[in-house]
């Protein structure tokens, strides 16, 4: 099978496609469908994924490069722009190390989103490095009480069971969730007394969802409209907040009833013998616009429940699209 032209006469994916898939390069839906059908190719893909994760894990564990080079007997002087660069990359690298977390890396949750479909082609796929932990991703087909039905790219569905302890978050372009009286945390830039919101957390924040941006401001929503609202702080101060189509709205503690069919969704948990997934954490993602296909891998530190929550929380904090 060559590049993105699936050859139905050739039984298996070639090495180039397997490597591209493991490297996160775009591959066609037909390749994904082939992976879903062909156990041998799926096994090969899993092996290459593990190799790729190993390399990525080493790269993630690489120490920061911020320290000045301790070169002996060097007559060369680092030009000021480069010193500037080293200082800045030091900051970036330090942040990277911080959010990658210290200590050993256990595994990765791989997420692939596209405008047409999501998922990696199988109903349930293993979370790399965490035995017993599996993930399902795709489109939310329906909500039945506390159960969710996720449809993968090949049309296979998996039922995901949630409980009161399941970490269930939703995020994305969700302006309708900002209503009068809602408790929110706003991050963004200030201009003429107005906060231009980059992200808004609705309801109780979660330590698993760490959003970027300047110091957050908490309060209650008043005068909500399509272009913004007034944030009323606990002290009674009223701050105008303007929102846009790119404002990321995150609900860290959502309920199954809030989820809307058709959105992208990722669930991680333990597979039952009946083929369902008992979810530890679920992230429902409502993408902005019709962006390009996106793929990212999220580390799972130690396969613990908390670590899985953190990985799904990081997924929720991404402005996909």
């Amino acid at each position: 099978m060559k590049a993105d032209h699936a050859d139905t006469h050739h039984p298996h994916l070639d090495l180039g496609l397997l490597v591209s898939h493991a490297a996160g390069q775009p591959v066609s839906e037909r390749v994904r469908e082939h992976l879903a059908r062909c156990e041998q190719c799926r096994r090969e893909a899993n092996r290459w994924n593990l190799v790729a994760d190993g390399v990525r894990g080493l790269a993630a564990a690489a120490p920061e490069t911020a320290q000045p080079v301790r070169r002996q007997n060097s007559r060369r002087r680092v030009p000021r722009p480069l010193r500037h660069g080293i200082e800045l990359v030091g900051v970036a690298a330090a942040l990277l190390v911080l959010f990658l977390g210290a200590g050993e890396l256990a595994g990765f949750v791989h997420v692939h989103l596209s405008t047409s479909s999501t998922g990696q082609g199988t109903a349930l796929i293993a979370v790399t490095g965490c035995s017993q932990v599996e993930q399902a991703d795709g489109t939310l087909e329906q909500v039945n009480g506390s159960s969710l039905v996720i449809k993968g790219v090949t049309g296979q569905t998996v039922t995901v069971r949630t409980t009161a302890t399941t970490f269930l978050s939703m995020s994305g372009a969700l302006p309708s969730e900002i209503t009068d009286g809602a408790s929110v945390t706003v991050r963004g830039s200030r201009s003429d007394g107005t906060i231009q919101a980059d992200s808004i957390t609705v309801g109780q924040p979660s330590s698993a969802v760490s959003l970027p941006g300047s110091a957050p401001v908490q309060g209650t929503v008043a005068d909500a409209s399509s272009s913004g609202f007034t944030l009323v702080t606990s002290g009674g101060t009223r701050i105008p907040v303007s929102t846009s189509s790119s404002t990321l709205v995150v609900i860290p503690h959502a309920t199954p009833g809030q989820l809307q069919a058709g959105g992208s969704i990722v669930a991680v948990g333990n597979a039952g013998s009946d083929g369902t997934l008992a979810a530890r954490a679920v992230a429902a993602l409502y993408q902005f616009g019709s962006g390009p296909r996106l793929a990212a891998s999220f580390r799972v530190r130690d396969c613990s429940a908390r670590s899985i929550d953190d990985a799904l929380g990081a997924i929720s904090a991404m402005p996909w699209g």
Binding site: L15, V19, S20, A22, A23, G24, Q25, P26, Q40, E44, N46, R47, L50, V51, A52, R56, L58, A59, A60, A62, P63, E64, T65, Q67, V69, R70, R71, R76, V78, R80, P81, L82, H84, G85, I86, L88, L95, L96, F99, L100, E104, L105, G107, F108, G129, S210, L211, P212, P292, R293, L294, A295, A296, S297, F298, R299, R301, D310, G313, A314
Partner: protein
């Protein structure tokens, strides 16, 4: 999406994301002496280049020096970038030459073991892959024990955000040879894992 200011969970972006900021215009500005552009370039590529060099050399101090030399070369040669390759593969190719020069000076050979690196391995067949039983931490440890040429091709293919043709350009070998080298690297990795498994 590229903003890295996040807590745990650690998104590790795959190639499609890394390439979003692969901006030749940055090199044009660097060529004109724009300090901010150099800083942005370092932010964009410095860590990936460092990780790749560290993977090949295995020595942090040496890797830091090579990255510094690489960035110096970028600062001086940015104006000569002709856009015939991606910015990422261009800077990694510079880093590779710097690495090769350094290791050659220490009488270590990276390039010359490429011949052996491309030879088919005599490891176990696909049905007996130690990789199937390995945990991620074991795989990371085993990668560190591979020959430099194997570590290099794995790093370029999976850690640098380069496509296979770009990996081929950096290594100055045909795409088919990249594939055979990757295959040989995985066979060697499987062998290391298998030996570690037997010794336990």
């Amino acid at each position: 999406v590229n903003d890295p200011h996040r807590d745990s969970g650690a998104p590790t972006f795959t190639a499609s994301h890394d390439r979003a900021c692969d901006d030749p215009g940055l090199l044009t500005r660097i060529g004109q002496g724009d300090e901010d552009a150099m800083a942005a370039f370092y932010r964009e590529h410095g860590r990936v280049v460092f990780a790749q060099v560290l993977l090949v050399t295995g020595e942090r101090l040496l890797a830091e020096e090579i990255v510094q030399d690489t960035m110096l070369a970028v600062w001086r040669a940015a104006g000569s970038f002709r856009g015939e390759s991606s910015v990422r593969s261009w800077v990694i190719a510079i880093a590779r030459r710097q690495t090769r020069d350094r290791l050659r000076g220490r009488r270590l050979r990276v390039v010359d073991d490429a011949f052996l690196a491309d030879q088919p391995g005599s490891g176990p067949g696909p049905e007996a892959m130690a990789l199937d039983r390995a945990e991620l931490a074991e795989v990371r440890g085993a990668i560190r024990e591979l020959a430099p040429a194997h570590r290099e091709v794995l790093g370029l293919a999976f850690g640098s955000g380069l496509s296979l043709p770009e990996v081929a350009d950096v290594l100055e070998i045909p795409v088919g040879t990249v594939k055979s080298r990757l295959s040989a690297a995985r066979t060697a990795l499987n062998r290391v894992l298998d030996e570690k498994g037997k010794s336990r």
